[in-house]
Amino acid sequence: MPDGQSRAEHFPGPLHRPPVRGGNAGVPDHHAHHPKLQHHFDDMEQQAEASTLGMWVFLVTEIMFFGGLFTAYLVYRYLNATAFQEASHHLAIGWGAFNTGVLILSSLTMAMAVRSAQTSQPRGTQVGWLAATMFLGLVFLGVKVIEYSEKFRDHIVPGPHFNKALWEHPSGAEIFYSLYFCMTGLHALHMIIGIGIMTVVSIMAWRRTFNANYYTPVEVSGLYWHFVDIVWIFLFPLLYLIGRHYGGHA
């Protein structure tokens, strides 16, 4: 591997580098290199790979975080199969499908934002794709507000005001809606955090931080955004689409 060779050449690095450790961003180096290269990395490539890998390790913890809720969903659906169908039948499939499309489109604009940084596009292009991504995130959250307020209006929110008279299987339906609000709520929180991250990244892009040599922050926050999209790709069918035949063969 050419990669390994260059690293082997650099192995005695500390001997011919200034013996400065940590917080030495302003220290002049005899090697000409990219100002964004931290001194504990050999080169930009290694630095970018370390960042990406670190983000993936975080996303693995996120998989397990949502995984706990998905496990709870599977267990309670296994125990209350008919009640879950009845409860799911009540969700607005149109809004769910629309929001799935919105999130997929936002993943496309996010991928384009990363690409525009990779190809050193003007800052207007980079910020434009990022703004489109944030806008689509806000559309998603707006639809979620409409859906949630309908649930509050109809007393479908678990708790003392949950209208048990609506359901043939009220206790199972209440469990379904507890999971619905937990899972979509946690997902929406991730969207809100994502929009916050994109705001910071947009400001960085506007300050011309990103080009073909350095775009790790866009890349890494893109990974986060796509992850949140993937969670919804599973939430949508599991929550909205399991109840179409309730009453059919239940």
């Binding site: 790979e49 890998l53 799935t100 990974l223 993937i230 069918p237 063969h249």
Partner: protein, 100 residues
């Protein structure tokens, strides 16, 4: 310089189209009563969509082997959680009567 693979724009639009088709398909199938197969079809489509996002939008297709291992480990541990949990829940009641 920083080693990232720049995918062609047309590839991104193709993936986007495939994801939309998958969404349309999964909604369509939900309106047909296939019994248990509804779940199988729904989750197969969802996994395929997730795989497209991971491989292309998240650039894993062009990432290092180490990234592949880390990504794979996440889903592997998820499967362990599902399978061990369900080895309990599904087998409850199998022994009814015989051991009491």
């Amino acid at each position: 310089m920083s080693g990232g693979h720049v995918a062609p724009v047309s590839l991104y639009y193709t993936i986007f189209g495939a994801l939309l088709v998958g969404t349309g398909l999964t909604v369509l199938v939900a309106f047909y009563d296939l019994g248990f197969m509804n779940n199988v079809v729904m989750l197969t489509i969802a996994c395929a969509k997730a795989l497209l996002v991971i491989l292309y939008f998240m650039h894993v297709r062009w990432s290092s082997r180490l990234t592949w291992v880390v990504v794979g480990s996440g889903f592997f541990w998820l499967l362990i959680m599902f399978s061990i949990t369900f080895s309990d829940y599904v087998s409850r009641g199998w022994m009814t009567g015989s051991l009491r």
